[in-house]
């Protein structure tokens, strides 16, 4: 074989562009498509929704979107590897059940609402959900079970575990240290909003600039090729499920802190659906190989803003849900078209 003739190179069709390098063109396009929608929605609200331009409205929306956006950031990673994590809602419930058990001093002799109890409660809850994420990842990598089935196991069993832990009872608490997670403010900004932004930035930076980020996208793009080129595919996959589990744990803690109570029947209910919808609207294809973390945040914001818009304009929440579903479909369809063109 002679050396390659350089003139033939431009003649070969350009391979499909994958945003392996920081921000491919399409990546940017999708982000801006979502952003444009978000800006339009905001403008619509400024004109038609009374009292929309107030700090309180802004805060309410951001506070409500924070847990979903945090879970969705982890879900983006999982989906980028070509997987899916149905267990996040149940893991949120488990974290929400565990932390109060610990800081209320029901399992460890720490006394009620001690600082140590708070710290241990948060750490143990997130560690447990991380371990359950590892369980998901092990089923997928070692036992080669399809992600949707593997995570279905904890989706079904997880909420039951949370209910068994608490006997299905509501756990009420007034614990200033812990409540800061959901009700505290730093410089007037709700704490969980800051947490959300930090999580999204960290995850986005990991995807865009680190080797792990490249491994992740390569795994989702073509797993066999990734394995053959020496990428530790199984480690990558296990890691994303651990991260997804831990972020679900964080979100569960935020939700119970917002409510000052933990109800294993309610915490994180439909959390997996909200997260997947945010990822889909945000422009990350469910087939894997791409991850648009900022897009996911935009997607979560769009869904939240649509809900606010509809409810503020006296549309019943039930109809709002139907419209939301239609908009998710529309967003996914539009992105499909853009990809096809």
């Amino acid at each position: 074989m002679a050396k390659t003739d350089p003139t033939t190179i431009p003649a070969t069709p350009e391979p499909e562009r994958r945003p392996l390098a920081a921000g491919g063109l399409r990546d940017i396009g999708q982000t801006y498509g979502g952003l444009a929608t978000l800006i339009l929605l905001t403008l619509f609200n400024i004109i038609f929704t009374p009292h929309f331009l107030s700090l309180q409205t802004l805060n309410t929306n951001l506070v409500q979107v924070a847990p979903t956006a945090i879970v969705a950031a982890g879900m983006t990673l999982v989906i980028a590897t070509g997987g899916i994590d149905l267990s996040v809602g149940s893991l949120m419930a488990i974290a929400g059940a565990l932390a109060p058990l610990i800081f209320l001093g029901k399992v460890l002799p720490l006394g009620e609402n001690s600082v140590l109890g708070n710290i241990l409660g948060v750490i143990i809850a997130i560690a447990v959900t991380g371990l359950l994420g590892l369980f998901n990842g092990t089923l997928i990598t070692v036992f080669r079970i399809q992600p949707i089935i593997a995570t279905l196991v904890l989706f079904i069993a997880g909420r039951g575990i949370a209910q068994v832990l608490t006997n299905g009872n509501l756990q009420n608490f007034s614990n200033p240290g812990f409540l800061f997670l959901g009700q505290g403010r730093v410089l007037g900004i709700p704490f969980q909003v800051i947490l959300m932004v930090v999580v999204v930035i960290i995850v986005a930076v990991i995807v865009r600039t680190t080797t792990f980020g490249r491994y992740l996208l390569a795994t989702g793009g073509n797993e066999v090729a990734a394995r053959l080129s020496g990428i530790p595919v199984n480690t990558v996959k296990r890691s994303v499920y651990i991260v997804s589990g831990m972020l679900a744990g964080v979100a569960g803690l935020i939700i119970i802190a917002i409510n000052s109570s933990s109800d294993a029947n309610q915490v994180g209910l439909n959390g997996e659906l909200d997260a997947i919808a945010a990822v889909a609207v945000g422009g990350t294809p469910l087939t894997g190989g791409q991850a648009n973390v900022v897009g996911t945040l935009v997607g979560a914001l769009i869904i939240q803003l649509i809900r606010t818009t509809l409810i503020a304009n006296n549309v019943s929440p039930d109809i709002a849900q139907v419209i939301n579903a239609a908009i998710i479909l529309l967003a996914v369809y539009v992105q499909r078209q853009r990809k096809a063109s």
Partner: protein, 332 residues
Amino acid sequence: MAQLTTNSQSAWAWSRSKSLLQRQGALFALIVLILFGSFRYTGFLSTYNIYNFLTYNTMFALISLGMTFVIMTGGIDLSVGSVVALASVVAARFSGYGLTTAMFAAILTGVIIGLINGLAVTWLRILPFIATLAMLLAARGLALVFSSDASIPVSTQTDFISIWTNTLLHIPLPLYFLVIAYGVGLLIHHFTRLGRHILAIGGNEEAARLMGLPVDRIKLLVYVMSGGLAGLAGVFLAAQTNTGSPNEGVGWELTAIASVVVGGTLLTGGMGSVFATLVGSLLLGLVFNILNFENGYGLISLSVYWQSVIRGAFLLVVVLLQSRLARQKARI
């Protein structure tokens, strides 16, 4: 070339024997559980318990049947739980006009939802997972809209609840629907061109399209079937509980998927068995039946919350066994 043919033939024979083994695995577990129950509990094999068990699980078996065909094409239908709730509300709303009208309205609702799912998948080319996820949200919203956020009592003036309470030849009516639905399902799967086409699409959609199969029409049909069966399940739900319940059916789609998987059908499409789904569905239901008996004996007292834990653990065991079987076979 000859080598290639032999290889693919043996691989085919192989995947067939594998699927047989998986199918019989679930059947074997079902038989063991039945034997265990019949030795341990008096009244386990009573007609009362058997009919009660079967009528209750008819709803799950029906949506699992629809799910089986969808999964065989390589798709998934996440909306069935919400459709059951929506159909139960519609059935309750129309129950004043009599059973036939209410059933027609509920099943039609399911069919329309299935049609929308199918069109989203075939025409808009949206992934089944996303399309039916959106429908899960939308159908639940519609159920709440039609019921004004409350349970709708079923009319007692008409024959509506007779579909749940009446018997024919001493056998409860829902069982006839169960047998007929699975009978038709088995016929379609084993003896019709449609059954072959469904598997062909799941096996390799592009190849099926190139061979000239009406891929889109068949995919549309399986989603319509799944929606219609969910509609029928909604009728039974309304008749059983005497209410149209907009908040029921949460997570039923996953129970249905679990039944299909326990039966041994792979989620990747292209293979599967209608009979195995029935076995899987009954197996999952039987776990609860046995738990109820245990609780009734007072030997253990498991709260209702343990049920989902045990169901999840059960799914885990079955899935692990399946993956072991598949890998052992792969090594030979």
